[in-house]
């Protein structure tokens, strides 16, 4: 009964403005993601990825996580996609349609993905049928709040992460450097 009361209180099947906005942006994000994994033009896949990641940033804003939304725009849209485009250019990816973009096991992949989607959506909807996110009150992810919790409770993981980034940077340099043996052979 309490579930029914909660549903009546929250207005089941009468979505609020935030829900409608979330749904519309979510459809656009999902569509861009599907085009990203299915398009035959490799550079277009990277550009559709920008749309998907930008849509996710808007979803973060709707969930009142402002700081994460701007970090998403800066890091994903700003740097990761540019890195991916660099990678596509440096491996001489064909501009235009490339018919062999998908491998032969596409139907097996589609089966696995659809089965996983059906199972996950069923479980998630069944589990959280009567749960609502309360978005009222002060934003839970403003820059002030983020700074406070990040540097009060999460300082040590934050510093460990900076060491990890340094290690990744050094590793990338070591991997992409031409070794001395190659030079001697030439």
């Amino acid at each position: 009964m309490s579930h029914l009361a909660a549903a009546a209180e929250q207005g089941f099947l009468s979505p609020t403005g935030v829900e409608i906005a979330f749904l519309l942006v979510g459809i656009a994000t999902l569509g861009a993601a599907v085009v990203t994994v299915t398009t035959k033009q490799l550079v277009h896949a990277a550009l559709w990825l920008v749309v998907a990641l930008g849509g996710l940033a808007v979803e973060y804003l709707l969930l009142t996580a402002e700081f994460i939304a701007w970090v998403q725009v800066l890091i994903y849209v700003g740097s990761v996609v540019v890195l991916l485009l660099f990678g596509l250019m440096l491996t001489k990816a064909p501009i235009g349609r490339s018919p062999d973009a998908d491998s032969g096991n596409r139907w097996a992949a589609l089966t696995v993905a659809v089965a996983a989607a059906a199972a996950l959506v069923w479980v998630v909807v069944d589990a959280f049928r009567t749960q609502w996110i309360d978005l009222d009150g002060p934003a839970q992810g403003s820059t002030r709040v983020t700074g406070e919790f990040l540097f009060q409770h999460w300082v040590l993981p934050f510093e460990a992460l900076s060491v990890l980034l340094l290690a990744a940077l050094v590793g990338a340099i070591v991997l992409s450097r031409k070794s001395d043996n190659d030079k001697e052979q030439r």
Partner: protein, 128 residues
Amino acid sequence: MHLAYPAVLAALLFCTGLYGVLARRNAILVLMSVELMLNAVNLNLVAFDVWLRDTLHAGQALTLFTIAIAAAEIGIGLSIVLMVYRNRGTSDVDKLRDTAEGRAADDAASALADKAAHEAAQKAEAAA
């Protein structure tokens, strides 16, 4: 907002990324699909953090850490793909089959198994 909206969107995005990882042939497109999967997880973390009103904000902190780790992963992954491309002239994951068990190895293994079964049958006949 109903919690099912972000949860379902995250599940669908994750499965889209899963399809991309399994179906794509170019290694850089596989990396793009991995990014989609990581972003689905991030959306889940943020949604559940806002839902639970966690005082430590573990979900948002983990989202920031995931974004940083994804940036590191994409850097290392791209440098590995570039090195493979430089050494082999292709970034096609289907053609990188050096460690695959070839057909010849399979034939040899099945021939050995046949021979062993044949010998076992002969021994059984002799004993009878």
